[in-house]
Amino acid sequence: MSFLWPAGLGFLALIPGILLLYFLRLKRDVRVVSSTFLWRKAVDAYRVNRPFQKFQNHLLLWLQLIAVLLLSVAASRPYAERRQRTTGIHIVLLDHSASMSVREEGGYTRLVLARAFLRDMVGGLKSGERMMVIGFSDRPFVAAPLTSDRAALIRGVNSVEPTSRPTRIEEAWHTALSVARQFDLSDIYLLSDGGFRVLPQLTQAHANVHYIPFGKSRDNVGIVHVETRESDEAERRIEIFARTVNRRDQPVRTTVELRFGDRLVDAQAIEIPAGGERGVVFERPSQEEGMAEIRLGDGGAFAADDRAWIPLGGSDIVRVVLVGEENVFLKQALAMIPRLELTVVAPADFAKVRSKLGESDLVVFDGPDPGPLERGTFLFLGGVPPVPGFGAGKDLENPTLLKWDAEHPLTRYINFSTLHVGKAIQVTVPSWGRTLLSSDHGPIISVGERAGLRVACVAFRILDSDWPMRVSFPIFFANAIRWAREEDPGSGERVVRPGQPLVVRAPREPQSGTILDPAGHSSPIAAAGSDHAIVGDTEKIGVYRVKWEKRTSEVLYAVSLTDPGESDIRVPDRIEMGGTALEAREGSAFVRTEFTPWLAFLGLAVLIAEWLVYQFHRGRA
C-alpha cells in the first residue's frame, strides 16, 4: 500500500496528545462519595501495579485512538495498485521538451524520472506484450519501434535526450494513432509534464489513453517575449521590451539585465507578483548594435527561459536609391527617416547606377520601368515590377479600398480607410506574391519575395492620390526601410526557437563559411548557389555566429525559447482530449484503488460510536 499524501500520516501525532489528555484528564465528571480515602488507597495500589492502567480496556480511549488512526490514514490517501488489464500493445509518448529539464525535488529532472518509470514499465512487460516508444518535443521521433525486445526498448528509452524545444504534441499524437489503428485495442501512455494541455481527439483508433504526469515544481521565473519597438517620442528611439512571468506562489524580486555579449549595458530590479507577469523596457543604447541579450537574475528551476536574445540592426546607415522624377512629397517622407542615405537618380541616368544597386538597401522606382531585375529589394510606385508573374491590367478609376494586411511589416501600423486613390493600375500578383491592400478591382499594394529578389508594388502614382496628406504616408516608407533591412520587430527571423531551422542570408560571394554555436562548436555552412543557407542544428539556446569566408565581420543569430507555454512548468492534473478530461495517473500505469472514502467512513462511524458510548456513560452516571 502506498500513500498519495504521506503527510496526512502526521495526524497520527494526535495520538500522544490524546494519551496525554487521558493522563491529565483535566475535565472529568464530579461524583461526591462518602470518603475518598479507600479510593485513594485503591488507585495508588493500582497505579503501582499497573502504571499504564488507563490504556487498558478503556473503551472511549480505544475508540478515539481507532478513529484518529483511521482518519489519519484516510487523510494520507492510501491506495493499492494492481497491474491493469492491458491490451498487450503499449504505445508510449515520452515528452523530452525543454520543460522536462526542470529539476524536481531530489535533484532529478522530469525526464530522468519519466525514463526511470518507463524502464520499470519495460521491465514489467509480460511475455507477448509489445511496446513502442516515441519521444516528442516540437516533433516526434521513434525511439523504439513496436517490439517485445526489452533491451531494444531500454536502449530506445535511454536515447530520449533532453532538448530545449517547445512542446508540440500533435505530430507525435498522430504518429501514435497511426500505430494504434493497426490494432483492435491498444494502450497509449503519455509520459509528460502536460505542457500541451489539450490533446487531439482519438480518431479511427481504439485505445486506452493514460496520462502519467511527471513533476510538481512551480519554481520558475522566465522571459516569454522580447521585441523591439519605437518609442512614441519624437526621437523615435528604439526600445527593447521584455515580458517576464513568475510561476511561483510567492512574488519574486529579481534583476533583468540587458547585455551585449559579455558586457552588461543596463539592469533593472523588478518584482513580479505571484503567478503574474511584468514587462520591462530598456532603451536601446544608440551606439550598441548586434545581438542584445535579456537575462534574468533569478530564474528558478527551469533555466532555458532565463535568457532571450533579439537582434538590433546591422548598420545604422540606410542606403536608398530613388529612381524617378522630382517628387517633393516622396523626398520629404524618406528624409524623415534617420540616418538615411538617399540617392536620387533620374530615369535617364538609371543605366549608369544599375550595377551598383546591390550596395543599396532599397531601390524605389517612382514610375519608370527598370527592366529585368535579379537580386535586391525594390519598391515600385505606380508601376508593375518587371518580374515574371506580376502583370499590368487596365487602368482603374477611383478604386474602392477594401481591406489590408495589418500584420505585414510593410503595412503594419497603417490605416488605409481614409486614403483616396484617383487612378491606379490593375495588377496581377503571382502565386508566390501576396496582396497587402486590396480594392474592388484587385490588388493595390502587393509584395513578392523569391530567390533573393524582393519586390513591393504600389499600384498608383503618389500624386494620383491624397496619400501625401495622410499620416500613413511617411509610416509606409519607414516600414519599407525596415522591411528592406529585415528589421522586423515582430518576426525576428534572426532569432528562432530551439529546433527551428535558422535561415542564414548568404552573400552572393563567397557562399561558404562557418557557424559557431553557443557551446563553441564550429560547423561549415554553405549557400550552394542560393541566397541563404539553412542551419538545422539549433538545439542549443544562445548566440550563433556566422562568418562568411573573406569577410571580417560576423553575423549574429540566436536561438531563444521565449515560449509562454513552455515557461509554464506547472503540471496539470488533467488534460483535455476531445472535450473530455483525462485524469492524471501520477506516475502509474496501474489501476489504483484508493481507500480514503472507506477509511473516512469507518473513522466517522467510530467517532459516532465513541460519542454514543460517552453519552451512555453520562446517562448512567
Binding site: R28, S34, N57
Partner: protein
C-alpha cells in the same frame, strides 16, 4: 413516626430477643440469669415469660392463678444497666445507596427497643467530629416513642472524628454499660484512639460497621473526579474492571482491619450493609453471632 422507623410486626418479633452482654454488669435486673447483686429488688419494671431455671420467688402467682401461665416479675435495680448507642451522623452517613443514615436510625431504634424491652436504660449519642445533642437515658417501652422522635431529628452533617467525639463522650459518661457504635468508620485518623477511650471502665463495646452496597461494590464506569463529602478531597480516576477489583479488595481489607482492631481491644465487630434486611439481621445474624438471644 414510630411506624416509619420500625413496623409493629418487627417490634413484636424483637420482643422475643434479648441483648447478650459478654460480661456481668452491676445494675442487671433481678430475675436475669447473671447478676452481680442480689436481693435488692426495688421497683417493678415489667413481666416476662418464665424460662426454666428462673428463680421461682419472682413468679407472679396471681397471674398464674388467673391465666394459668407462669410470668416472672421483673424489678429494676437501683443501678440499672445502661445501653449507650453511639450513632455516627457525619456527612458520609448521608451517602450511599441505599442511604446509610436511615438504615442506621432503624438499627439504632431496634437496639433501643431491645434495650427498653429488657428494662435497660438507653441513651443515644449522635456524633460527627464532636458530640451532637443526645438523648438522655430513657427506660421502659413507653420511651420508645421518644427514641423514635429523637432519631428522626438526627441528620447527616460534619466530618468524622471518633477520637474527639468518643473522648468527649467518655468524659461525660460515668459508670459502665453496653456500648454500640454504629458508623461507617470513615475516619481518616482511624478509630483506634477513639475506641481506646472505652478500655478504661467496664464497657462491653460492639462496633456495627455500616457500609452501603455501592460503597462495597461501586456501580459506575468511566472517568471521574471523586470528591470526599466530608473534607472535599479529590481523587481522579478512570474506572476499569481492574480498578474495581482493586477497590473491592481495599474495602475487604478495610473491613478486616477494623475487625482486627476491635478484636485486639476485646470489642465485638459486626459488619453490616444498608441494603440488608433488618429482620434477617436481628432475628438471625445477630443471634448467630451471639449479640442477641
Amino acid at each position: 413516626m414510630r411506624q416509619q422507623l420500625l413496623s409493629p410486626e418487627f417490634l413484636r418479633k424483637l420482643e422475643q430477643l434479648e441483648i447478650v452482654a459478654r460480661r456481668p454488669f452491676a445494675g442487671r435486673i433481678r430475675g436475669e440469669h447473671r447478676s452481680v447483686r442480689r436481693g435488692h429488688s426495688l421497683e417493678f419494671a415489667d413481666y416476662r415469660n418464665y424460662i426454666q431455671g428462673d428463680d421461682l420467688r419472682f413468679v407472679d402467682w396471681k397471674i398464674y392463678a388467673r391465666l394459668d401461665r407462669l410470668f416472672l416479675k421483673l424489678f429494676m435495680e437501683e443501678e440499672d444497666l445502661f445501653v449507650y448507642i453511639l450513632l455516627d451522623a457525619s456527612h458520609s452517613m448521608g451517602m450511599g445507596e441505599p442511604l446509610k443514615l436511615p438504615f442506621a436510625r432503624k438499627v439504632t431504634a431496634a437496639l433501643a427497643y431491645l434495650a427498653l424491652a429488657g428494662t435497660h436504660r438507653v441513651s443515644i449519642q449522635p456524633f460527627d467530629a464532636g458530640l451532637r445533642p443526645y438523648l438522655p437515658a430513657v427506660r421502659g417501652r413507653g420511651a420508645f416513642a421518644e427514641v423514635s422522635t429523637f432519631l428522626e431529628g438526627v441528620g447527616a452533617s460534619g466530618a468524622t472524628d471518633t477520637r474527639s467525639a468518643f473522648a468527649d463522650f467518655r468524659r461525660r459518661l460515668r459508670g459502665s454499660g453496653l456500648v454500640f457504635v454504629i458508623s461507617d468508620l470513615f475516619d481518616r485518623k482511624g478509630i483506634l484512639d477513639g475506641l481506646k477511650q472505652f478500655l478504661a471502665g467496664r464497657f462491653d463495646v460492639t462496633v456495627l460497621h455500616l457500609l452501603s452496597a455501592d460503597e462495597e461494590v461501586p456501580a459506575f464506569e468511566g472517568d471521574w473526579r471523586l470528591v470526599d463529602v466530608e473534607d472535599g478531597g479529590e481523587v481522579a480516576l478512570s474506572m476499569t474492571a481492574q480498578l474495581l477489583e482493586g477497590y473491592t479488595r481495599t474495602v475487604r481489607a478495610f473491613r478486616g482491619e477494623q475487625q482486627g482492631l476491635c478484636g485486639r481491644l476485646g470489642f465485638r465487630y459486626l459488619p453490616i450493609r444498608s441494603d440488608l434486611s433488618l429482620e434477617g439481621m436481628f432475628l438471625h445474624r445477630f443471634r448467630e453471632q451471639g449479640v442477641l438471644r
